[in-house]
């Protein structure tokens, strides 16, 4: 074989180095280093371990297996084989390169148990300040945030990653919308529709019902009582979801609430404006559901009168 030029040799060695950092190798290298010290608190998460690399290591039960691949003679043989292939195609540009991850990996459907908690302002400050000595992982965290080149995702704060996981907010929105849809469906199909029907068409019914139930003068009382019960159940369920997902529905779904969160609580002629706006929005939410049901009742009344 002809003598390799310095540049070619450099290229081959570079590829060989990069291979060792790929496929979960980066984290296991950090693990190896931190393993030297008992109870080391240093992070072993590597920015190099991309989703691609994670897929590659799928099936490996733990880090021990990764070590085996890196250290074992089989691993070296494989590496040598790959090197030979690389040398054969030395003129070609490198086929793959390691891509830095843009963000943390999240599963498509987040587990409720994995929901992020409240943000620690001290850790955020630490990451923002940067460490002149480069100790710890804060400079790297800062760089991870800078990897996007200042670009922000929709819904993400321009000053950094949104404290609440975007994926979780979307999931929460989906759950809340589903709850709302099912509660409306249940109310309309199983209460309002039959009840309006029995009130309007009480004379044509083949069976007898108590007079207080079919009496039109009692309609509003019964309807309002049902609305109160249904709304209570709905909010009870909503609160369960909110506490499970650790997300405030109003703050994340409502644009007015988002804008209101910028209003300071102090220093304005009216105190606690923000809280008052939130309270008003909560009342409006209840009222809007009530108005929707009333509208449906009116439509049904019209329809049943003409049938």
């Amino acid at each position: 074989m002809s003598e390799l030029s310095e540049s070619e040799k450099r290229k081959i060695l570079r590829e060989r180095r990069q291979q060792k950092f790929r496929a979960g190798g980066a984290s296991s290298r950090l693990n190896k280093i931190t393993g030297q010290i008992p109870n080391s608190q240093l992070s072993t998460e590597s920015s190099l371990d991309t989703t691609e690399a994670n897929e590659h290591t799928k099936g490996l039960s733990n880090d021990e297996d990764v070590y085996q691949i890196i250290d074992s003679p089989e691993g070296n043989e494989q590496s040598t084989k790959e090197m030979d292939e690389l040398i054969a195609s030395i003129s070609k540009p490198p086929s793959s390169k390691i891509i830095p991850p843009k963000s943390r990996d999240f599963s498509p459907t987040p587990e409720l148990s994995e929901t992020p908690g409240t943000v620690d302002p001290f850790s955020m400050l630490k990451a923002m300040q940067g460490d002149a000595e480069g100790n710890g992982s804060s400079p790297f965290d800062l760089f991870k945030a800078m990897q996007g080149g200042g670009q922000t995702e929709p819904g993400e704060s321009p000053f950094g990653k949104d404290p609440v996981d975007e994926e979780m907010v979307n999931y929460h929105k989906y759950v809340v919308n589903k709850l709302k849809a099912y509660s409306i469906l249940f109310k309309w199909l199983f209460f309002i529709l039959p009840y309006v029907y029995v009130v309007i068409k009480s004379e044509t019914l083949p069976f007898e019902l108590p007079n207080w139930l079919v009496n039109p003068s009692n309609f509003f009382t019964i309807f309002v009582a049902f609305e109160i019960v249904a709304t209570s159940i709905y909010y009870q369920k909503l609160q369960t979801f909110e506490s499970d997902n650790n997300i405030d529905t109003l703050q994340h779904n409502n644009k007015i609430a988002k804008l209101a969160s910028f209003i300071p609580n102090e220093g304005l002629p009216i105190r606690n404006v923000r809280d008052k706006v939130f309270m008003a929005l909560h009342y409006w939410d209840v009222l809007s559901m009530f108005i929707t049901d009333i509208c449906f009742v009116l439509i049904l009344m019209g329809v049943f009168t003409y049938i």
Binding site: E3, L13, Q36, A132, L142
Partner: protein
């Protein structure tokens, strides 16, 4: 086929292609000594070429290392015709920019004391305001790189074949190296905006003498050029410096991983301050033996983890390595690895000179 890796920097020192060499690592591991040593060895090995050593560390050490004063302008090292040094000083550079702004304001008919902006600038307001911006050191270092590229293109000023960066501790350095990427993306966005509002922006610029779109495009071209050069292993490489201790090794590994993620070449690690106590029985002590035992533990790990890297093991000298003569003596171990059984006297020679 010879793919063996020498435990020295001979291939880098004699390299004819490298234009940018970064030397970095954790604080206090000997980055400045290492960068000076690399620069000296390169300058000695290839006397026909011009070398520039730039310190981008806000806490400059180059002047102390060589024992002569360097400033924001490149100046030749006394005793070396082809090696220049400079220390990028953000406050001085910002003061220059401030003075330029003042003179421009006065030239445009600023109404002296009554002019609020002029008053602010007279007191060095611009320098004060911008000096506290995070990352300003890195931005100024980056401007320096751009200046050199421009000079090389135009053939203006002094041009250098290789620029060696004595970088700040890891965090700063990574910010600096990330700048081309960040700027490139930023300018891309600006490009989109100026594509739509370019003529309007140009007319807003006043006299029409400033072509904003043109300037942005030029800047973008320069940034792209730097980006491509920094990721070309034939042109750019990063030399990591560490000591044989846990935290230093950990940070070196993280640094290397970050550099690989930026697609930057890193193939050399200088391990400084090694005791080689077993070869030094004459001046032996219990503490040195214990320390050397600990260093050996991490050295073994370094050898295992970085078998495809040039790992250069440098001795801890009895005295400080300051001045060109001492640096020259010490730096030869970068070109030909240190042999504790033969080269042991050099450690004490350096002490005598101090």
């Amino acid at each position: 086929m010879d793919l063996s890796i020498e435990p020295n920097l001979h291939s880098l020192i004699t390299s004819s292609t490298h234009k940018w060499i970064f030397v970095g690592g954790k604080g206090g591991v000997g980055k400045t000594t290492s960068s000076c040593s690399i620069a000296i060895q390169m300058a000695l090995a290839q006397p026909q070429k011009q070398y520039l050593l730039i310190s981008t560390d806000p806490a400059h050490n180059l002047s102390d290392a060589f024992g002569e004063k360097f400033g924001k302008d490149a100046r030749k090292v006394t005793g070396m015709n082809n090696l220049s040094c400079m220390e990028i000083d953000p406050s001085a550079a910002l003061k220059d920019m401030n003075d330029m702004a003042v003179s421009r304001s006065n030239a445009n008919g600023g109404s002296g004391e009554s002019d609020g902006l002029s008053n602010l600038l007279q007191g060095g307001g611009l320098a004060e305001l911008t000096g506290s911006i995070p990352g300003i050191d890195e931005a100024l270092s980056f401007m320096e790189v751009m200046k050199h590229i421009r000079n090389q293109e135009k053939g203006e000023g002094e041009s250098y074949d290789t620029v060696i960066f004595d970088t700040a501790p890891t965090g700063h350095t990574l910010r600096f190296l990330q700048l081309p990427n960040t700027l490139s993306k930023l300018l891309e966005k600006f490009g989109e905006i100026t594509g739509n509002f370019g003529p309007m922006l140009n007319s807003l610029a006043g006299t029409g003498n400033i072509d904003i779109t043109g300037k942005l495009n030029q800047l973008k071209e320069n940034v792209e050029l730097i980006k491509s050069q920094f990721t070309n292993p034939d042109l750019t490489t990063f030399v990591c410096v560490c000591i044989s201790e846990f935290l230093s090794l950990y940070e070196t590994e993280r640094l290397i991983q970050e550099l690989i993620s930026y697609d930057m070449d890193v193939n050399s690690i200088i391990v400084n301050q090694l005791l080689f106590a077993e070869h030094d029985l004459e001046h032996n002590c219990k503490r040195c033996q214990a320390r050397w035992k600990m260093q050996k533990k991490y050295l073994d790990q370094i050898d295992e983890l970085y078998e495809d890297f040039h790992v250069i093991k440098m001795p801890l000298c009895a005295g400080e390595i300051r001045g060109l003569d001492n640096l020259r003596k010490f730096s030869k171990f970068l070109d030909k690895e240190y042999d504790p059984s033969k080269d042991g006297e050099v450690i004490y020679e350096l002490e005598e000179k101090n």
